[in-house]
Symmetry: C2
Subunit: 197 residues, 2 copies
């Protein structure tokens, strides 16, 4: 450890890093993924372009990391586990519905989804880096329910999650209807019915 | 009826109209919705720009109509009704999965979806003009099943369709997995289980 280094530069670096990622996310919401430039990110974050290039090799890399930061800490994250699977899943789905009612939260994710649809490589990165750790936390909650005898031991947990989230995703993306708490509850009830029978 | 007009001009018009719509769809698949110009559509269709402007007021209008043409005849369309709801829905979902495995079919719909996600007004038009007549045909098949006592009379038919198609839509759009015939069948089985219980 170099004795000359105070902790301040590290703290300043972390502040800059977070400012850059926040700026990238905000700009994607405002002007769309395709139109966000390194220059605009640097200006918004109050840093020089060279600071961005020191940490990220490309525009795409910094934008993708800005989304990744949204799920930071997802590794090791856990869903609530009170022993009541339906209640725990309803809590999660209602929270998700509330998050997606907030334009500041949903606009960058909407922009990312529009991009993923047209870009198979970005879709692959999305599944591997963004979705996978979150999905694993969800599967672990379902495994706990299986151990407690609340779900059959032989069901396909990924298919369970597709049923729970697919209708929500379609309704949200195509603006097919409101994401109400009652809607969130009905997704849980119907999915449990489909997989418990 | 003007006696001087032979049927030929009308046939020629209809040929031009179809060529224009096909060109618009092809170009959307090839270069993306945002980059398709009236000039390019005209060149591909072998007509003059003025021919396009005679029938459509704008670039957006001709592109949207090119998608609408895909579901032409959807009004009055009917799903198979052999009396076996599960078998009929599996036939439909397997056919849908097969269609989406064809890049020539799925690429323009993918481009349209990317556009819908970012454009609330286009989403509204999509629901009203493209999805509504097809959804009504699906609901009518479900009502027939209700009359035959194969589905409870009080279920939410739109929610039923969201469960049947939402997971498919999410898997397709995010390239989350293959759209196999077995997958199509499992969507039908699980949705029926959720709504019959």
């Amino acid at each position: 450890m170099p004795a000359a280094k105070s902790p301040d530069p590290a703290r300043r670096s972390e502040r800059s890093r977070r400012a850059i990622l926040a700026a990238a996310r905000e700009l994607v919401s405002e002007v769309g993924y395709a139109k966000v430039s390194i220059e605009a990110i640097a200006a918004r974050a109050g840093v020089g372009k060279q600071t961005i290039y020191r940490w990220w090799p490309s525009r795409g890399a910094v934008i993708f990391d800005s989304f990744l930061a949204l799920s930071e800490g997802a590794e090791g994250m856990a869903l609530p586990d009170t022993g009541d699977l339906a209640a725990d899943l309803k809590l999660v789905m209602r929270a998700t519905a509330a998050e997606f009612a907030d334009p500041a939260f949903e606009a960058p994710i909407r922009a990312l989804n529009a991009e993923i649809i047209n870009d198979p490589e970005l879709a692959r990165q999305y599944h591997e880096k963004l979705a996978a750790p979150v999905d694993e936390a969800k599967r672990e909650r379902l495994r706990s329910a299986q151990r407690a005898g609340q779900l059959p031991p032989d069901i396909d947990l990924d298919l369970f999650l597709e049923f729970l989230y697919g209708p929500f995703y379609q309704r949200w993306l195509t603006r097919g209807g409101p994401l109400t708490p009652e809607y969130a509850d009905s997704l849980v009830d119907l999915t449990l019915r489909a997989f418990r029978a």
